[in-house]
């Protein structure tokens, strides 16, 4: 017994040491639950929604969106004003004099040049590098640097030294070998630095991005783009502090590449220019933000401290919110969301909030001529794709399968999300017309077995529906598949794969029909429509249509904004009514949990959260969020229940502060 007890005692003692060495952070004025840990705090390398949301609160781009205005207006941020020149391609930004980094140093135009150049460099390997290619010369700079790096990496060391080292005495393998080891390494290091300098010179000469002085930044875009200011407000365009980032990078003498250590994003090293600065970040546990002491607009910062907790498990994150662990749960994905919304309609649950967003759930058609196995692909024919689209009752799917308030979609660009853009009608649910389209394409039941056959008597191949496991896609696939079986007579097979395999199949067009989804990045229809361009990196459908490409090119060249929007609307009509590379199902909703600022009787509530934007673009600024305390609640005037900000039960989801009402997509399925 003594020895057994000793073993136990040893375990307990070592445990106690570990436990006592680990303490939680203090509570904050605002606590937010995120669904996952941040992937990176480096703005140029961001691509996840939760990362970008943080970027808007710890960094400050030149301009930002007013997320409370109906048209999502661009307002000054780090730049106090800007001028758009007459050529439609040049912008001059005037930075505010009092813009400061969190270490007190001024934010200059040079910082922006540095950061945007970083986004263009192939060394940075940024997901969103294509966003910087809108700047004149950026693509040439990317290509130039890529080429230089490739050539440099293949040179023998002495050639690297001879060509770039700047030492005239080294001109052969022998003269290089004769140097002592340390001198060789110095020379190679110098060679790599010079290679980089050469790229910087190329940048200065060829790229339309220039710091005229400390507070003036001039940008020239490659083409006239109507939405450049929208890009400049996007997260990846936020500045990083050059001194900080430079102290964590090194140039590899062998490859010539800039190698980054990302330790600079860890507090307390991190320096930011936004309303907050992270002061603690414990991986997968919590992040703590404090107000940036040098921020120019401190009165705008409502909560002085913010804590962000990542909780992966959807159910746990709801329980955590319900037991008071946070003021805002920013991503609710439990499968009982539909029940929570129903409880809310009955007035039994006030915390769940649904918002329509800037995204669309769809299924992709493989548009290539042959399938992966070499057999002909029936979906290569646009008429077949139209037939399959007409045969899907999206309202049925949204209301009775998904059941959480999504708006059925007939088009790709979410209606009402972009001012000045009029969506086309899209295709309705019409089984009769669907069968007619399929028949016109040469597919109808010729041998009486119920399955359509083509002219040579081959039955329509079994339609394989590819999707990734672990979400609602199987329900949707079942519903859609049965509609196709019922209305078109085809046979359907569901294929569920792990995410990575699904993605692989999608990329290599190894599928017939596959689930997909897309969220827009900036306030222009091209953020969606570019997906259908021939060869676009996100065109998983292999859709290639010279007519569509021509329409998009024509729109890009159009100078008149209204005419441009009209051309884009025509391009969308073409893809949503004629060629159908994708089959839109619904426009995504996003679900939040928070205590509303007013209760059902319109009285202000302590603990209610103010400042959440309901615009479909769904940009939330943490610094605008304010948890109502007792003093504030007492000072707030009550509100009549009628104009409470909660949607009425008949219309569970708001259309956002859209400038015009949603188009009649709501009566999807009326044809049945």
């Amino acid at each position: 017994m003594g020895k057994v007890a000793a073993i136990l005692g040893l375990l307990v003692a070592s445990l106690a040491v570990l436990v006592l060495s680990d303490r939680s952070l203090p509570p904050a004025e605002l606590t937010v639950i995120n669904r996952s840990e941040f992937n990176t705090l480096d703005p140029q390398r961001m691509s996840y929604l939760h990362d970008l949301r943080l970027a808007y609160s710890i960094y400050e781009p030149l301009v930002r969106w007013d997320n409370e205005s109906p048209d999502f207006a661009i307002v000054p941020a780090a730049a106090e004003r800007w001028e758009a020149h007459d050529d439609g391609r040049t912008y001059t930004f005037f930075l505010r004099e009092d813009a400061r980094w969190s270490n007190g140093e001024p934010v200059t135009a040079h910082d922006f040049v540095y950061s945007w150049r970083r986004g263009m460099l192939p060394d940075t390997v940024a997901d969103y590098s294509s966003f910087f290619m809108h700047i004149d010369g950026a693509q040439a700079f990317f290509d130039h640097r890529t080429r230089k790096l490739e050539t440099y990496a293949e040179l023998e060391p002495w050639r690297k030294a001879a060509r770039y080292g700047g030492d005239a005495d080294v001109d052969s393998a022998e003269s290089f070998a004769a140097l002592p080891g340390a001198a060789q390494r110095d020379l190679l290091q110098r060679a790599a630095e010079n290679l980089y300098q050469e790229s910087l010179d190329f940048f200065a000469e060829n790229v339309g991005l220039e710091a005229v002085d400390d507070t003036t930044l001039r940008v020239r875009t490659a083409k006239r783009i109507a939405y450049f200011l929208d890009l400049a407000a996007f997260g990846v365009y936020c500045p990083v502090n050059p001194d900080l980032v430079n102290s964590y990078r090194r140039i590899n003498p062998d490859s010539g590449r800039i190698e980054q250590s990302f330790d600079w994003t860890k507090p307390p090293k991190l320096v930011t220019n936004g309303p907050y600065v992270p002061v603690a970040w414990r991986f997968k546990r919590e992040m703590f933000l404090e107000e940036n002491p040098h921020y120019w607009n401190k009165p705008a910062v409502k909560s002085k401290t913010v804590k962000i907790i990542p909780i992966n498990d959807p159910n746990t994150s709801v329980l955590a919110f319900e037991t008071g662990a946070a003021n805002w749960n920013s991503d609710v994905t439990v499968d009982y969301v539909a029940d929570m919304l129903e409880a809310k309609d009955r007035g039994e649950y006030e915390w769940i909030h649904a918002f329509s967003t800037f995204g669309t759930y769809f299924w992709s058609f493989n548009c290539t001529p042959t399938l992966a196995g070499g057999q002909p692909n029936p979906f290569h024919d646009a008429a077949v794709r139209r037939a399959f689209t007409l045969a899907v009752d999206k309202r049925e799917i949204a209301e009775n399968v998904k059941r959480s308030g999504e708006k059925p979609a007939r088009v790709f660009v979410p209606p009402g999300s972009i001012p000045g853009f009029d969506n086309p009608e899209g295709l309705p649910f019409d089984p009769t017309r669907a069968r007619a389209e399929l028949r016109a394409a040469g597919w109808f039941d010729r041998d009486g077995d119920g399955v359509p056959d083509n002219a040579s008597g081959t039955p329509f191949p079994v339609v394989e529906m590819l999707y990734s496991t672990g979400s609602y896609h199987d329900d949707i696939a079942l519903a859609m598949g049965s509609m196709w079986e019922e209305h078109l007579g085809v046979k359907v097979r569901l294929i569920a794969k792990e995410l990575k395999i699904y993605k692989d199949n999608l990329k290599s067009q190894n599928y017939m029909v596959a689930r997909g989804g897309w969220f827009g990045d900036y306030g222009d229809p091209t953020t969606f429509l570019d997906l259908h361009r021939t060869g676009d990196g996100n065109n998983d459908r292999g859709y290639s249509d010279p007519d569509f490409d021509r329409m998009m090119d024509a729109a890009a060249l159009e100078q008149n904004p209204e005419e441009r929007m009209r051309l884009l609307a025509e391009a969308e009509r073409y893809t949503m009514e004629e060629t159908l590379p994708i089959l839109p199902i619904w426009h995504y909703n996003y679900y939040y949990l928070y205590k509303p600022p007013y209760d059902a009787e319109g009285r202000p509530q302590v603990g209610g959260l103010r400042g959440i934007s309901d615009h479909p673009r769904l940009v939330q600024y943490l610094w605008k969020l304010d948890v109502i305390d007792e003093a504030e609640a007492a000072a707030m005037p009550p509100r009549s229940p009628r104009d409470a900000d909660e949607p009425s039960p008949a219309m569970p989801v708001r259309t956002g502060a859209a400038p015009r009402p949603a188009p009649p997509a709501a009566d999807e399925g009326a044809a049945s």
Binding site: L18, S21, R185, S261, T265, R285, I309, I311, N312, A325
Partner: protein, 322 residues
């Protein structure tokens, strides 16, 4: 004994190399692109090529040896010896994480392993206390009500999946009774529910091992002799019989501890605990190569070391074993 320890420690790197190679082959053959974000915007092809080049993802042989060079400490030693102006941040450098780009695998293990150790050890301690007690109670009066009750509880402990137990406990304590909190980690109170949930299958198994061992021992001749000499029953059970019945428990304890520390994926998810178990699953799902290799090697190393510790303890508890 010293010889045994030395022999085992020499075996360790060989075992790890074999595991490294197998893990590498399996991880490399996972389908999909390691460096991209599956749900978001795809980088241009040229950028993707750069990404792959950066980590030698375009060539398995280079990758295999480059990574071996880093994790064995050879790179660290080389850079230190040659003073090339380049710093190796870690002796054993497990590389970056593709998914959590700001963190490298060393940092992730450093932050999650202590959490897993605390959780795993708490669970093992609870399992030992509960399991031994239940086993002894059952063995003293086999087939009594107390014995059947503990057996039934043990059966439930083994059969009920931990996400069910965990969720029920979460709803019962923090949500309904207001005791403790959801998704918190750090305080002693936060630890009890997850540790208890994690301990259940281990406790059940320990209870069964103890009960079986004790029933055998209590019928052994030396127990009868001890009783005949007039030794009190309590002392016979706790001092003599338990010591021998504990040996199978002890040998189970090695792998059990390693598993409790790393195999707690479900518990970590349900209770939102920043431990290491989740990285096994997430890394494979996301083809986060360096992470897969890192956590697997750490786990393998722990398994070998815990087995060694158990063998040493074994000899200490029972000096007859050579």
């Amino acid at each position: 004994m010293i010889g045994m320890i030395v022999r085992r420690l020499i075996q360790l790197p060989i075992i790890l190399l074999v595991i490294y190679t197998i893990t590498f082959l399996l991880a490399w053959s996972l389908p999909g692109e390691a460096v991209i974000n599956d749900e978001g915007r795809q980088p241009p092809a040229a950028v993707l090529d750069q990404m792959k080049k950066q980590y030698a993802l375009d060539d398995p042989v280079t990758f295999y040896f480059q990574y071996l060079y880093r994790i064995t400490g050879a790179r660290y030693a080389y850079l230190h010896a040659t003073d090339r102006g380049e710093e190796a941040p870690y002796v054993f450098d497990f590389g970056p994480s593709f998914k959590y780009e700001d963190w490298n695998v060393n940092q992730i293990i450093a932050s999650s392993l202590p959490v897993s150790i605390v959780l795993g050890m708490s669970a093992i301690i609870i399992a030992l206390v509960v399991g031994l007690t239940a086993g002894i109670v059952g063995a003293i009066k086999p087939n009594s009500m107390a014995d059947l009750a503990t057996l039934a509880v043990a059966l439930i402990g083994i059969s009920l999946p931990s996400f069910v137990v965990g969720t029920v406990l979460l709803i019962l304590f923090p949500v309904w009774l207001g005791v403790g909190s959801v998704a918190a980690w750090g305080g002693l109170g936060d630890m009890f529910l997850p540790a208890f949930t994690l301990s259940l299958p281990f406790a059940a198994y320990i209870a069964r091992l103890t009960r079986m061992g004790m029933i055998d021992e209590l019928h052994a001749d030396y127990v009868r002799t001890a009783r005949a000499k007039g030794l009190p029953w309590r002392k016979v059970v706790l001092k003599h019989a338990l010591k021998n019945a504990f040996l199978p428990v002890l040998s189970y304890l090695g792998p059990a501890t390693a598993f409790a520390m790393t195999g707690s994926f479900v518990i970590e998810t349900v209770f939102s605990i920043p431990g290491m178990g989740q990285h096994f699953v997430d890394a494979v799902r996301g083809k986060d190569l360096f992470m897969i290799m890192g956590v697997t090697l750490i786990f393998a190393g722990m398994l070998v070391l815990f087995n060694l510790v158990v063998d040493v303890l074994y000899r200490w508890v029972d000096p007859r074993i050579e």
